[in-house]
């Protein structure tokens, strides 16, 4: 799997990390009923960072990034996004959601709307952008993800890879400052994974702050500036990708890496 994204040389020089803090998570805890899904998470993400979160299934990595735009509610600790704390205040939640883009495993495109309408919906209704302007922006981003000619089709008429790229374009139309990816390639056929990863790499090269939950270790190696390994609801290890893959320190990480890279 690691070869998939390896064939295009990547210019890492453009991916600069600034000192400005984009996301800060402090002592965050979350329970599902009795089950302690996230335990004492501390994480600071600076602007321009590309973070890959890896870990076995059920380790809480999806829950972690879903907490960042409050698709899940955390019960203790703080999450501060762009200087705004996520509390039960609806205005803050709406503000953060419109600043943070998200791509889902199953795309979650709106099947009753065309590709173009999917992309213009939120700018028009949340950002109150005039329709014409929203459509221009949408076409711009659809060109960026290389499917402008599909704009008038419905999601059901597109392949999985194309749908995921539309989902990325849909998020970008809100001009987000942070992008969250929740296993964006897990539901895709193997030959479609590359087109989505290429889009994500391009995004990274433009300096987007990204948090990706993914099993694409090739992508992590090339693009990420930090890899976080989670298990049993906690951050077990984090490091730069080279170090992480070549010199894993914790036993859990070694076991995990041997299992997914072993063959």
């Amino acid at each position: 799997m690691s070869e998939l994204a390896m064939d295009t040389p990547i210019d890492r020089s453009a991916m600069k990390v600034s000192d400005e803090v984009a996301i800060e998570i402090r002592n965050m805890n979350k329970w599902y009923g009795q089950f302690h899904v996230l335990r004492d998470i501390n994480l600071t993400v600076n602007r321009g960072e590309r973070i890959v979160i890896a870990g076995p299934s059920g380790s809480g990595k999806s829950t972690l990034i879903r907490c960042i735009n409050r698709l899940e509610e955390h019960q203790a600790g703080q999450i501060i996004v762009d200087g705004t704390e996520l509390t039960s205040d609806l205005k803050n939640i709406d503000k953060i959601r419109s600043e943070v883009g998200m791509c889902f495993q199953h795309f979650n495109l709106f099947p009753h709307l065309t590709i173009l309408e999917n992309c213009t919906l939120a700018p028009i209704w949340v950002r109150k952008v005039p329709r014409k302007e929203a459509e221009e922006t949408a076409m711009h981003f659809l060109e960026k993800v290389k499917i402008p000619d599909q704009a008038l089709k419905y999601p059901g008429q597109l392949s999985g890879g194309q749908q995921q790229r539309v989902a990325i374009a849909r998020s970008l139309c809100m001009k987000p400052r942070i992008m969250l990816f929740d296993e964006p390639t897990s539901a895709l056929d193997p030959e479609m994974i590359k087109e989505v990863l290429d889009t994500m790499i391009e995004l990274a090269q433009e300096g987007m702050t990204m948090l990706c939950v993914t099993h694409e270790m090739g992508f992590a190696r090339q693009v990420a500036n930090r890899v976080i390994f989670m298990d049993q609801g906690q951050i077990v290890e984090q490091n730069e990708p080279e170090e992480f893959f070549n010199n894993p320190r914790s036993e859990r990480t070694k076991l995990f890496l041997s299992q997914i890279l072993g063959h």
């Binding site: 000192d19 600071t44 600076n46 501060i80 704390e85 509390t87 039960s88 609806l90 205005k91």
Partner: protein
């Protein structure tokens, strides 16, 4: 590298009532509750005011007064000196009677039609489609009124049976008389009857009936045990013993014996004067209602059955065939259990619909709970509020009971899924 200060701890502001998810829910619910209470208070104060103006006071005392009207089709003893409450009870039993008869017939007809609609015989499936569409797209009230009209207008009067060259004759070896006043069928009689036992002072239950039910129950239980034993033998040895004659025998032999002991015989209807006497008299209103409700509901049940069978994917049949199961076993062990899961919930809600539709009895003069309590009792006592509310509560109770059965079934058959 971070210079974040703690966000200021928030003090309570009024806008938090709307914008804070913690308070928002409570705010809205309190608003809803206030609106709800205001609305109800308004209704109740209006009602009180109106009733006071009319000089009426809500009370259910009228239920104990003599009803003063006759009910011709009834399951328990009743005469016009009995109370309104007893009249309502007679009506309730009549509702349950027609609902029960209707559900049984509708299920039988509906299942047959539903299966035939899936037949690969083009002519049959078209005929069944015509039946279904014809009944589904015309109001049930019209079917009821039409059935009643056919019965009254087209059947011979009892006097047509009189004389040597009578225009009409009794059917089925002179046991059934079909007339425009209703159908007379033979009634079961016991020459060595065990008598009745009174239930409270509401009605009597025949001990004969109880004895028959007990014998039947025991028969079914023993039959079930034989089946379990056969299952066990099959599991132990792989061969299933042949038991069907034993299973039938334990049900029917004791039953036949009991009937002989009780001196079971039939009482036939006979023409006396201008009318029939003897036998059981089914009034036209009952028959019309039963027929129309059954045929109408059967059309809906047929669609449910069809959808249920279609819902089981072809893959299931193919998988079973690939394992070498014969079609009959595939049907019994693979298709039916899954199809029933799909069919039974809508089937029960059709039963519910049929029961509610039986309130249309009032259109043909069948004295069900609507006809007694909300019909004649309402008109005679002028107690609109009490009778209508009571009637609604009774129907609500019946509906809730049927829904409870359905929920119980649903929770039992729920597929175990991740």
């Amino acid at each position: 590298m971070t210079t974040l200060t703690d966000p200021p701890s928030e003090s309570f502001r009024l806008s938090m009532l709307i914008y804070d998810t913690r308070y928002r829910a409570i705010t809205f619910q309190i608003i809803a509750l206030i609106c709800f209470l205001l609305f109800f208070g308004w209704l109740i104060s209006n009602t009180a005011q109106n009733l006071a103006d009319l000089g009426k006071e809500p009370s259910f005392g009228f239920l104990m007064e003599p009803a003063g009207y006759d009910i011709n089709q009834r399951l328990i003893d009743y005469n016009n000196q009995d109370s309104h409450l007893r009249a309502a009870f007679v009506g309730l039993l009549n509702t349950l009677l027609v609902a029960f008869l209707g559900c049984v017939t509708a299920t039988v007809v509906g299942v047959i039609v539903g299966v035939l609609r899936l037949s690969n015989n083009w002519l049959i499936s078209r005929l069944m489609a015509v039946y279904v569409e014809m009944f589904r797209n015309v109001p049930v009230l019209m079917w009821i009124v039409l059935c009643m009209a056919i019965l009254i207008e087209s059947l011979p009067a009892p006097r047509a049976f009189r004389g040597d060259d009578a225009e009409a004759s009794m059917k089925l070896f002179d046991t059934v008389a079909i007339t425009n006043r209703g159908v007379y069928i033979p009634e079961p009689l016991f020459s060595r009857s065990l008598g009745d036992i009174p239930v409270g002072n509401l009605f009597n239950i025949s001990i004969d009936l109880i004895a028959i039910l007990i014998v039947l129950a025991i028969g079914f239980y023993v039959s079930h045990r034989i089946k379990l034993k056969a299952d066990a033998t099959q599991e132990a040895t792989g061969v299933r013993p042949r038991t069907w004659y034993m299973r039938l025998g334990v049900i029917f032999v004791p039953l036949a014996a009991l009937l002989v002991i009780l001196g079971f015989h039939l009482g036939y209807p006979e023409l006396s004067g201008f009318n029939f006497s003897g036998g059981t008299h089914l009034r036209n209103s009952l028959i019309a209602l039963w027929l129309a409700l059954s045929l109408y509901t059967a059309a809906f049940i047929a669609e449910n059955v069809r959808a249920g069978i279609l819902a089981i994917s072809k893959g299931q049949t193919e998988a079973a065939s690939a394992l070498g199961l014969r079609p009959s076993i595939t049907m019994r062990l693979v298709i039916l259990p899954q199809a029933l899961r799909v069919i039974i919930p809508p089937l029960i809600s059709q039963y519910l619909n049929l029961t509610k539709n039986s309130s249309l009895a009032i259109a043909v003069g069948y004295m069900d709970i609507t006809g007694t309590l909300m019909g004649i009792t309402l008109n005679q006592t002028g107690r609109e509020l009490e009778t209508v509310l009571l009637g609604m509560l009774i129907y609500l109770a019946i509906s809730l009971a049927i829904s409870a059965v359905m929920n119980f079934y649903n929770s039992r058959v729920k597929l175990v899924e991740r």
